[in-house]
């Protein structure tokens, strides 16, 4: 889909909030109260895909409460490519009505010394698809939590998270609840821990009793680059139905020295060899990103941050 086939809208949040909405198919409403931003995005219907760029230009901590709803058959692509220099506290509740698609891209840079929390709670109805891609460099204190409720048949979640960090202490929680049959979830988390970073990922998958024909994949992989860097990857599965196809894996470790040596034996110096290795490690799942423009941006993000 090219940009001319999209309805494009930007929401810029600073001391005041600027947005322009010339489509009757969406209802956007943002206001500020006591330094907190309350926002609402309702996709009423979409004859074309909606692309909404959300950006933060505040020079203070960013606090946002956001409600998103997608009506039947609508398609929203939401992007946030902001830098969060002063910390953030973001809470999002999303509701997807049947046959809707929601693509959510977050490619953010955070400042080490700040505290950042992110909470997203999303409910999916019949045949809905939620595609969630998140790229982050972590910060000293960081909590990310996404809860996906696959409420109705054929609801599907595909998600990919990448975190590259030098000095973060971060908890990343993903909880996927299969609450109806024939729902799918596919999640990958990749992280590179440097310096004294401590990165945790917990991936919970719950499959309810009557959820036959469930498909659920989860993979998490971590690279530990320095002596004091830590990673813990914790998959938690609770599966209450036998008719389920599940594949889950978690692995973390140091870079493979034989690969680094191979690259060096071709003339590539140590630091560049490590960079190529790390980029390859993080780039492995980029083909899951459904659009070429965002794939390219993700690749650039990885290259600039590792």
């Amino acid at each position: 889909m090219t940009n001319t086939e999209k309805n494009i809208c930007s929401i810029i949040i600073g001391e005041e909030i600027k947005y322009e909405n010339n489509s009757s198919e969406v209802d956007i409403d943002f206001k500020i109260q006591n330094d907190h931003i309350f926002g609402k995005i309702d996709i009423l219907k979409s004859s074309k895909k909606f692309l909404i760029n959300l950006s933060n230009v505040k020079d203070k901590k960013f606090n946002l409460e956001l409600e998103i709803s997608l009506n039947e058959n609508s398609f929203l692509e939401l992007r946030d490519e902001s830098d969060y220099e002063h910390g953030s506290d973001i809470n999002i509740r999303s509701t997807m009505n049947k046959n809707s698609i929601f693509e959510f891209f977050r490619l953010n840079k955070f400042k080490d010394s700040t505290k950042n929390t992110f909470n997203h709670n999303i409910e999916l109805a019949l045949n809905c698809e939620f595609r969630d891609f998140n790229f982050s460099n972590g910060s000293n204190e960081m909590d990310n939590k996404t809860t996906v409720l696959l409420n109705e048949e054929n609801a599907s979640y595909i998600g990919s998270g990448v975190m590259i960090s030098n000095s973060t202490n971060s908890n990343n929680d993903l909880s996927i609840k299969h609450l109806s049959k024939s729902a799918k979830s596919d999640c990958s988390f990749k992280t590179v821990s440097r310096g004294n970073s401590n990165i945790k990922f917990s991936g919970k998958v719950f499959v309810d009793h009557d959820c036959s024909k469930t498909i659920s994949n989860q993979i998490s992989k971590g690279l530990i680059m320095d002596e004091f860097a830590k990673i813990s990857l914790i998959p938690k599965l609770e599966i209450n139905n036998d008719d389920v196809v599940c594949a889950h894996g978690a692995a973390s470790g140091k870079p493979d020295e034989s690969v680094i040596f191979y690259l060096k034996s071709r003339g590539i110096p140590q630091n560049e060899a490590e960079k190529i290795y790390v980029e390859g490690f993080l780039g492995e799942f980029l083909d899951k990103i459904p659009n070429a423009e965002m794939q390219e941006k993700a690749m650039k993000y990885i290259s600039a941050n590792c």
Binding site: E257, F261, S265, R266, I268, G280
Partner: protein
């Protein structure tokens, strides 16, 4: 070109190379044959600078430089190339982007600008066709899922792209089919010149029938036990090492 003197090397505290000495002059082709586990790959990796191989004692002089003092990447930039017996997989990086990066790091070392995308594609097409490598192999991740023979061809392709002056080929022939062995040997023969030397590690006479060696060495228990010309390879092929 290369002068190895009384080299002793251990791996995981186990001594493998014992008092190895070998001189390779400019333009010469040396073949090394020897039983499994005798230490042939150990020489190859030691020369390339693999940090798992510990030098106990000895000297290696490469083009008037102390090779053992050099970082593996410096060795490559100074013209040494090892075609691995077991090429390494690099997931997430396409072969094309990898090959371009190794070409560019050598160009940078020579003070040249990075190669233009179009020129690189042309070069890659030309070199790949000599080795019968299909272009779609380059959009796959480096060596990941390549067949044994494809991995070996990819090693020869890298050799051909980097123009080294000392080439060590560690059982490059193992795993190649008859046609590939022929095209690979032809590519190597094209590269033979008065300022490029080869050390060819192999178990088979067949390769040495395509690439005529100037010297053949028999390797056993970590050092050279016999040296001769090509007729030595003929004898080993008939009689074995016993």
């Amino acid at each position: 070109m290369l002068d190895i003197k009384n080299l002793n090397v251990s791996v995981e505290d186990k001594q493998i190379l014992r008092d190895l000495s070998l001189k390779v002059g400019s333009g010469e082709v040396h073949a090394i044959m020897g039983p499994n586990g005798s230490g042939k790959s150990t020489i190859a990796h030691t020369l390339a600078g693999n940090p798992n191989y510990e030098i106990i004692s000895g000297d290696v002089n490469f083009n008037e430089k102390d090779l053992l003092e050099m970082d593996p990447s410096e060795r490559s930039l100074s013209g040494l190339f090892l075609a691995f017996q077991y090429p390494i997989e690099l997931p997430g990086v396409t072969n094309a982007s990898y090959l371009k990066q190794i070409v560019n790091v050598h160009r940078k070392h020579r003070g040249e600008n990075p190669i233009e995308a179009g020129d690189f594609l042309k070069l890659l097409k030309e070199k790949s066709s000599i080795l019968n490598i299909p272009m779609d192999m380059h959009s796959r991740f480096v060596n990941a899922g390549f067949s044994g023979g494809e991995k070996k061809k990819n090693e020869v392709l890298q050799l051909d792209l980097l123009n080294p002056n000392l080439v060590i080929m560690d059982e490059t022939d193992s795993g190649l089919d008859v046609d590939a062995l022929k095209s690979t040997s032809e590519a190597v023969n094209q590269l033979r010149s008065s300022n490029r030397s080869f050390i060819i590690i192999t178990h088979y006479l067949r390769l040495l029938e395509y690439i005529e060696p100037d010297f053949v060495h028999v390797f056993q228990d970590g050092s050279i036990v016999e040296s001769g010309d090509k007729s030595l390879a003929n004898r080993i092929d008939k009689e074995g090492y016993a």
